[in-house]
């Protein structure tokens, strides 16, 4: 992993402003580490699309279709039985398993997609090499820039609300 500079802030407003400022100054490849989701950051940092929802839709429809076809095939062709004189193709009854499986498929597909899109599991990331980043899950807000081509320390230190700068990676 390349070296990155982490700018530590103590509140979200400063973090968002700093990100916006650096962005307008043309800094690319920025990321942020926050204990909670800061919605305002997303239009600023413009992370690439992740397609999790699309995956969920596809997985859900595929699972639903699969289960519906399984039911239809087994009830009409593979092992048809006279069950209460009901029609073999009992599509209203088939709908229940279809719906539930569809939702499960979407959930499971999305879960996998989410984990993979986040690049997880990644238990040993240089981000964890220092104890200084522990606040990222508590009450500190980190703006992450690639060290290569980052503005100099002086410029950075003039950002509002900046508490500290940490280096990670090599």
């Amino acid at each position: 992993m390349t070296a990155r500079l982490l700018l530590v802030f103590t509140d979200t407003a400063s973090l968002v402003d700093a990100a916006r400022t650096l962005r307008t100054e043309g800094v690319d490849g920025m990321d942020a580490h926050t204990p909670w989701r800061v919605a305002d950051l997303e239009p600023v940092l413009e992370p690439p699309a992740h397609g999790v929802r699309r995956t969920m839709l596809i997985a859900g429809l595929a699972a639903a279709a699969g289960v519906f076809l399984l039911q239809t095939w087994s009830a009409v062709w593979f092992y048809p039985l006279n069950v209460g004189g009901r029609p073999l193709f009992s599509w209203p009854a088939f709908g229940f398993a279809t719906f539930e499986t569809g939702i499960l498929g979407a959930a499971a597909g999305g879960f996998v997609a989410m984990i993979r899109a986040c690049g997880l599991p990644r238990l040993h990331d240089p981000f964890f090499d220092t104890a200084e980043t522990e606040g990222a899950s508590d009450d500190r807000f980190f703006l992450s820039l690639p060290r290569e081509g980052a503005p100099d320390r002086l410029r950075l230190s003039r950002l509002d609300g900046l508490a500290r700068i940490v280096e990670v990676g090599r």
């Binding site: 979200t12 990321d31 942020a32 580490h33 926050t34 204990p35 909670w36 989701r37 800061v38 950051l41 997303e42 940092l45 992370p47 992740h50 999790v52 929802r53 969920m56 289960v67 399984l70 039911q71 087994s74 009830a75 092992y79 039985l81 069950v83 209460g84 009901r86 009992s90 009854a93 088939f94 229940f96 398993a97 539930e100 499986t101 939702i103 499960l104 979407a106 959930a107 499971a108 999305g110 879960f111 997609a113 989410m114 984990i115 899109a117 986040c118 997880l120 599991p121 990644r122 238990l123 040993h124 990331d125 964890f128 522990e134 606040g135 990222a136 899950s137 508590d138 009450d139 992450s144």
Partner: protein, 446 residues
């Protein structure tokens, strides 16, 4: 807004983290915790013994008979799964409607869903005459060339409960990943650090992470509401897809869904009161929470009352003597103690929630919530036992009396539920820290 009206704590994020994480990481278990553990462990042992005796001797140890073929096992199954529904509604429905007060309670409410759904899932397996063959309800390639019989509500149940449990697990876990990261970063002991680290999967709170996370979490919330509605509708269809008088009612699916929400929220009241005290977090689980939940319960109670009244109306309107007999026997016949107990718990006592003071005062709202849970349990007893014992053919009328093992298993599952939560308190952050802090932050910035 006065301090007591505040729904979100007025504290720095760091303090909030400490409030939730310290009971797990820093503080040792108190005497009360150990006492609870001992009690619930004993009841769990009773549950295991009951299940063992059941597997060895057969379902004849229960009070079921040729007419009343379903007894406590199905009552408890429906009651537990109903309780479970509220957790998903709090996580999902309240998220979609942007109710900020959900964040203090959604973590343990979701845990309640998981625990209740798993306990509920025990019953359809163990109440079988041949429980070791329960997997025949699952479609899998086999040498018999057989598949489940898709038109049966019990097969729908399997799909519904299975997907519900798995969905809830994924949903709950996803929401908890950032909190596991918090615990990982705060933990002192190597074992804790390693365990939380694995559970956190290496979460770094990156903006990318959060975007993906939100994409998934929001979509899950959107699916969660129809899932809850479908799951408990399917549970209702266990009864209403049949033709027994008193069961064959199209009102059952929505009526069960509302009832589930109703009993689930009542259980959340009880759990919230306990956790507030156990964690010492009255600023997170505030009086306002109880106030709002009380209103939800009041609304639920009114809907349930209307549902019961609809049943009475339709029995009369249908002109079907068997349906009318069911209602009569419930209101003033042999089953009146159960039915009036149900009405007291579900319809009468919750009217206290009209009074704001009642909603906010714990020693009033918690007993009423318990009464609601008892009332809902009695409702399931009435539904499960009355129509089979007062069916179309009077020669087949009979009665149902629970046996020791019926009660023992029920008490055992209550103890198991308590055990799971007792352990939960020491292992899982009981409040969703990141969501709470996010809400506090938004309020501060607004």
């Amino acid at each position: 807004m006065t301090a007591t009206d505040a729904i979100l704590p007025d504290r720095a994020p760091g303090r909030l983290t400490a409030d939730v994480a310290d009971p797990i990481l820093a503080r040792r278990a108190g005497r009360i915790w150990w006492a609870c553990l001992a009690l619930f462990l004993a009841l769990t042992v009773l549950m295991v013994v009951s299940l063992t005796v059941l597997a060895v001797s057969g379902v004849g140890i229960w009070g079921i008979n040729t007419s009343a073929v379903w007894g406590f096992a199905i009552v408890n199954y429906v009651w537990w799964i109903g309780i479970g529904n509220a957790g998903t509604l709090i996580s999902a429905m309240l998220l979609l409607t942007r109710q900020r007060w959900r964040t203090s309670i959604n973590r343990f409410a979701e845990a309640m869903t998981l625990f209740a759904a798993c306990i509920a899932g025990l019953f359809p397996i163990f109440h079988l005459g041949r429980p070791w063959l329960f997997y025949w309800l699952v479609p899998y390639p086999n040498t018999m060339g057989l598949v489940p019989q898709w038109r049966s509500p019990l097969v729908w149940d399997l799909f519904a409960i299975a997907s519900y449990i798995l969905f809830s697990l994924m949903f709950w876990y996803t929401g908890a990943i950032p909190d596991f990261a918090t615990l990982r970063d705060r933990a002192r002991g190597r074992l804790t650090r390693a365990a939380c680290g694995i559970l956190a999967l290496g979460w770094r709170g990156s903006a990318r992470h959060w975007q993906v996370w939100q994409g998934y979490y929001g979509a899950m919330a959107a699916m969660g509401v129809p899932l809850v509605i479908s799951v408990h509708s399917v549970v209702g269809m266990d009864y209403s897809a049949g033709l027994a008088p008193g069961w064959n009612e199209t009102i059952f699916p929505p009526y069960f869904v509302v009832g589930a929400m109703f009993s689930g929220f009542a259980m959340v009241v009880v759990l919230a009161a306990i956790f507030r005290r156990a964690l010492g977090v009255p600023h997170m689980i505030t009086d306002r929470h109880f106030d709002i939940i009380g209103k939800v319960l009041l609304a639920g109670s009114l809907v349930m009352t209307v549902s019961y009244a609809t049943e009475w109306f339709y029995a009369w309107y249908s002109g079907e003597p068997a349906e009318q007999r069911i209602v009569a026997v419930q209101l003033w016949g042999d089953y009146w103690p159960l039915y009036w107990g149900m009405l007291a718990g579900n319809c009468i006592l919750p009217q206290l929630y009209w009074v704001p003071w009642c909603r906010r005062t714990l020693w009033v709202t918690v007993p009423v919530a318990i009464a609601i849970n008892i009332g809902m349990w009695l409702e399931r007893v009435v539904i499960t036992v009355v129509p089979p014992t007062r069916g179309y053919l009077p020669s087949q009328w009979g009665s149902y009396w629970p046996t020791f093992w019926d009660w023992a298993l029920f008490a055992g599952t209550l103890g198991f539920f308590g055990l799971l939560f007792t352990l939960f308190l020491r292992v899982i952050p009981a409040v969703s820290m990141h969501e709470l802090k996010e809400q506090v932050d938004e309020e501060v910035r607004a």
